[in-house]
């Protein structure tokens, strides 16, 4: 991947999540903001996520989960990915819990485990603001 004006972004669904429309939407959302996207699709096992991230060297990894297992799957994914990929910004978003409520403690745990940002309840305004941060596009 090369860095021009935008940012190289890897989009992926979490390991147990078979939803696709959220990933298509995120790809378009990032592309419309000038970024280049590789979309791995749904049900991406942690090993594949690590392999693709180390092979493609994206500047941003966007994980999405809407099946209610986002906290659990996100924690497993970042624990596998962060030691192998210290450089990229890695974020998680979607509907992360089964009860549709926000949980600050779980978000804190995800941030401590290595995510740069967590967008619970699919907070696109916050994700858009994150994409505009200078760190998010620096390589």
């Amino acid at each position: 991947m090369s860095s021009r004006s935008g940012c190289d972004v890897l989009v992926a669904g979490t390991a147990s999540d078979s939803h696709t429309w959220n990933l298509i939407f995120l790809q378009l959302f990032c592309e419309e903001r000038g970024h280049r996207v590789v979309n791995l699709g749904p049900c991406v096992p942690d090993a594949l996520l690590v392999a693709e991230t180390t092979a493609l060297c994206p500047e941003l990894v966007v994980l999405s989960s809407v099946n209610g297992h986002g906290f659990t799957d996100g924690l497993t994914a970042i624990t596998a990915l962060r030691p192998r990929a210290p450089r990229p910004r890695i974020v998680l978003g979607g509907k992360l819990g089964v009860d549709g409520r926000r949980h600050a403690d779980r978000t804190d745990a995800l941030l401590r485990a290595g995510f740069d940002a967590v967008f619970d309840d699919g907070d696109l305004t916050a994700f858009d603001a994150f994409l505009r941060l200078p760190q998010a596009v620096a390589s």
Partner: protein, 400 residues
């Protein structure tokens, strides 16, 4: 009586819930309530997502820890538990089908046949491409073995193709019809003599009517003589109306569509669809609302032909021409892009097709890749806003 024969002999539309609970007691209560609803019903055991992906350890752990599951883990529960929950509920007047979503369903079929069940659903394409990353060739081999297992272990096996759904929305009907026909044909090649072909309600009633009639025409043409077959309609599978009124109107529209087209079976959606997993009472309400709407609808004989039959037939023929072995033909068809599911990100899907909701509310192809069909609407740049507008078209119309 077998699942297939029960549905074919029913005097009115057979309605069925999507219902699954981890707890056998709740599952039994749900089946009993389905049986006792004021409608002609069949029962459903919907499995949980751990069982769907073959993670039976996680399902067993959830059972041990009494953690909630989003369905019934038929592989992790003992055969005795499943047989006991069905005892006195499932009989010749109330057949039960297992619904799962797995691309590797051999263990599921072993478990369901051991408990005396004989009806399930899925398919090598429809439970592979839209749902994960299992390579299509693996899924085809798994499903061949699954058909053979079911044929060998069940007295009156029935298998339903999920091909009429694919990603649930935005797939123009020609491809849905073709995949349903191809999968049903695949089942018959591997020993299943009673099948159902599916179609999921889309964005436009007349387009859906035409699609179901095309499905019936092609099933009659391509399935071997003597095959017991019927059509099952899925109530809308996309973004659902959030209002109670909108959700019920969309459900009624699906029942009316089934009744107009002589569709034998309908799988319902409930008022809870947009919000959470429905209760047993909400499922019963949906079954009864759908049955009433169907009773009040008069069947119609024909629908104007806008080309769905021709499109579906071209796709089916293109696949059948590839290889006498239908499994090899499926793999080759995806490798060449002769079948290409719009928006599907699976590594074995060509990903060159695109579709949209036209100004008149009908689904149209804006790009067809290598499929032997033609685009029905000029291509325009897809944006995140346009995608959201298309995905929520039905929900917005019914919530209005």
């Amino acid at each position: 009586m077998s699942f297939g024969r029960f549905v074919k002999r029913a005097a009115s539309l057979v309605v069925q819930p999507r219902m699954g609970f981890g707890d056998p007691v709740a599952m039994r209560d749900g089946l009993r309530a389905t049986r006792d609803a004021d409608a002609t019903t069949v029962g459903t055991l919907t499995l949980d997502s751990y069982t769907r992906v073959g993670d039976h350890q996680a399902a067993a752990k959830a059972l041990r820890e009494r953690a909630p599951l989003n369905g019934y883990p038929i592989v992790s529960h003992s055969t005795e538990t499943t047989a006991a929950l069905l005892d006195g509920i499932r009989d010749s007047g109330f057949p039960v089908q297992v619904r799962h979503g797995s691309a590797q369903p051999q263990d599921i079929v072993r478990a369901l046949t051991a408990a005396g069940l004989d009806a399930t659903e899925g398919g090598p394409i429809s439970y592979c491409l839209p749902y994960g990353r299992t390579p299509i060739r693996e899924s085809i081999a798994n499903w061949r073995e699954t058909c053979e297992l079911l044929a060998e272990r069940a007295d009156t096996p029935h298998l339903e193709s999920f091909g009429g759904c694919l990603l649930g929305q935005l797939c123009p009907p020609g491809l849905l019809v073709a995949v349903s026909v191809l999968e049903a044909l695949f089942f018959t090649r591997y020993g299943i003599t009673s099948v159902s072909l599916s179609y999921a309600q889309q964005t436009h009633p007349a387009q859906d009517e035409e699609a179901i009639r095309a499905l019936r025409t092609l099933a009659a043409r391509y399935l071997p003589a003597g095959t017991d077959w019927h059509v099952v309609l899925y109530g809308y599978m996309g973004v659902y109306p959030t209002t109670r009124r909108g959700a019920l109107r969309l459900l009624q529209a699906s029942a009316e569509l089934a009744a107009r087209t002589g569709t034998e079976r309908l799988i319902v959606k409930t008022v809870a669809e947009a919000h959470r997993i429905p209760t047993i009472a909400e499922n019963v309400q949906a079954l009864e609302v759908a049955a009433t709407a169907a009773r009040e609808t008069v069947p119609t004989a024909t629908t104007a032909d806008t080309g769905i039959l021709g499109e579906a037939k071209a796709l089916v023929e293109a696949v059948l021409d590839l290889d006498d072995d239908l499994g090899r033909a499926f793999a080759e068809a995806f490798a060449r892009g002769l079948l290409d599911v719009p928006f599907c990100l699976h590594p074995d899907n060509a990903g060159q097709s695109r579709s949209t909701v036209g100004a008149d509310g009908r689904l149209r192809w804006t790009a067809v890749g290598a499929m032997p069909i033609v685009p029905t609407e000029p291509d325009s740049a897809l944006t995140s806003d346009r995608l959201l507008t298309a995905l929520t078209h039905v929900a917005r119309s019914f919530d209005r």
